[in-house]
């Protein structure tokens, strides 16, 4: 465990050192490639005057609400398409089609419908999450070995009980990977929306990134990008990784 931590830290320290050396070599102007030190300076000052925290809070709140809504709607719809031929042919096909639409394409529509409001942001995030979640859930349920439901039926399980005690837990590994994918899509669509649109109700990380470009403040651009990466990593490591570890242990799919 310690060895793995050490290897990872060494790797990232190495990257920073390479970055530093490239800056020192003056190949590019410092306006285009700021040194790690100035990026760190920006992050420190933005943290001190509160803009960074505020932007992070706004972004994460939008993300959580939008993602939550996406799951709340997408999971049941996915179960529905998996259990009924009719829903498969209607909602299933709709989801398959809209999933191919890059989520940033929803931004113009969201702006016209909702104006420059939080609702527009949430709409984009939900649209980015929902369709892929429906498809992942549907796939997950359909790959459950039929022997499980037969065994359950033989033991007297029916209807809702079968769904909650057999279908959902059996599909859990697939549901989780669907939720992970949904999370990634939600994150991407929110960033796209924030970069494109300034909204008066809140100034998110994407907006901060956008203004970094407007002001030609490369240290801000890279600093905010780093923050976005770190949030993504942190969510994966704290939210999804423990559930994944549990599933691997139970199902015996652990890699040695």
């Amino acid at each position: 465990m310690i060895a793995r931590w050490l290897a990872a830290s060494l790797f990232f320290m190495f990257l920073v050192v390479v970055w530093y050396l490239i800056v020192k070599a003056h190949i590019w102007s410092p306006l285009l490639l700021p040194s790690p030190v100035s990026v760190l300076d920006y992050l420190r000052s933005a943290a001190e005057d509160g803009t960074l925290w505020e932007a992070t809070l706004v972004t994460v709140r939008r993300l959580l609400i939008g993602y939550g809504l996406g799951i709340l709607v997408g999971l049941p719809l996915g179960l529905l398409t998996a259990s009924s031929r009719w829903c498969q042919d209607t909602i299933g096909v709709l989801a398959l089609g809209l999933q191919t639409l890059p989520s940033v394409c929803w931004v113009p529509l969201a702006l016209l419908w909702f104006g420059q409001t939080e609702a527009a942001m949430l709409f984009v995030v939900v649209m980015g999450t929902l369709w892929s979640l429906i498809i992942a859930t549907d796939n997950g349920v359909q790959t459950i070995p039929p022997i499980y439901t037969r065994a359950a039926r033989s033991m007297g399980s029916t209807g809702l009980h079968t769904w909650t005690h057999v279908v959902l837990p059996a599909a859990l590994p697939f549901l989780l990977s669907g939720m992970k994918q949904g999370w990634a899509f939600a994150w991407r669509s929110l960033m796209a929306a924030e970069i494109f649109v300034t909204i008066l109700t809140g100034f998110g990380l994407g907006n901060l990134l956008h203004y970094g470009r407007e002001l030609n403040a490369m240290d801000q651009v890279i600093g905010v990008m780093l923050v976005i990466v770190i949030i993504g990593l942190a969510v994966d490591k704290t939210l999804f990784a423990p559930i994944e570890r549990f599933l691997h242990r139970r199902w015996g799919t652990e890699r040695q």
Binding site: I147, Y148, R150, A151, A152, R153, S154, M155, G156, S157, H165, V166, P169, A170, L172, R249, R250, W251, G252
Partner: protein, 260 residues
């Protein structure tokens, strides 16, 4: 309570009369069962034997209530079977244990909240796996998994136990142990057992009666009573003699079919 009695003389636990079943796909229709009539007495151990495709598993599913016959009558305790129920539990051939539950959780599945834990532990003890009750399913060997499946099927106290080639995937040594276990459990708990297998020796070792099926369409060809004393050893000479006779008859049907 008397000794295991031949069918017909007492009221039958399971009655099948003129049962037929077809499976239709878009390209063809398969005649799975043709006019099967069978009576099974309370507490009887009946083995259904035949080559693959003879409809014996289909018959088991019909008794379980997981499938409906297209024609004929199927009754348990004098009542027509319309669906699955906890009085007739199936133990499947493949791993049908739920990997998201522990061993104990699997055995608890068919039990309601009141009966619970004590009962599950009792049946795990019965199959010799109590100390593995908190293990995950994938940590068990194939034989242990089928033992858990047996405990899971026994725990809700079904009067009929339906076993669909439960030991098919196991090695010979493990199977022999399980023959011993199943005979011991059967003599203690006196379930009515319908056991599907394509292994004649296994059928002779376990059954009071061996029912021989032939395929295309699946129908009953012959019935053999096995009056050997219990517990039976699969390697005994008497048992081998019965098995040889039945295998001989079975081969006759298979060859007749190949010959057209």
């Amino acid at each position: 309570m008397s000794d295991p009695t031949p069918a017909n003389t007492v009221s039958s636990k399971l009655v099948l009369e003129h049962v037929s079943k077809w499976f239709r796909t878009s390209s063809q229709t398969v005649h799975a069962l043709d006019d099967v009539t069978l009576r099974i007495a309370e507490g009887e151990f009946v083995c259904l034997v035949g080559p693959s495709g003879c409809g014996k598993s289909t018959l088991l599913n019909i008794i379980a209530g997981l499938e409906r016959p297209d024609r004929g009558l199927v009754q348990a305790d004098g009542e027509t079977i319309v669906g699955p129920g906890p009085h007739r539990l199936v133990m499947f051939q493949e791993a049908s244990l739920f990997p998201w539950l522990t061993v104990l959780g699997n055995v608890l599945f068919g039990l309601n909240a009141v009966e619970c834990r004590e009962k599950a532990e009792y049946f795990l003890e019965l199959v010799g796996l109590k100390r593995f009750m908190h293990s995950n399913v994938h940590e068990l060997s194939g034989g242990m998994k089928q033992r858990v499946a047996l405990a899971r099927a026994l725990a809700p106290n079904p009067s009929v136990l339906l076993m669909d080639e439960p030991f098919g995937a196991l090695d010979a040594l493990t199977r022999e142990q399980l023959y011993g276990d199943i005979q011991r459990i059967w003599s203690q708990h006196r379930k009515t057992i319908v056991f599907v297998t394509h292994n004649v020796r296994e059928a002779v070792c376990l059954g009071d009666r061996v029912i021989l099926f032939s395929p295309h369409p699946g129908r009953i060809r012959e019935e053999f009573a096995i009056p050997l004393p219990r517990p039976r050893d699969i390697n005994s000479v008497d048992l081998a003699r019965y098995a040889t006779d039945i295998t001989h008859v079975l081969k006759g049907y298979v060859q007749a079919e190949v010959a057209g």
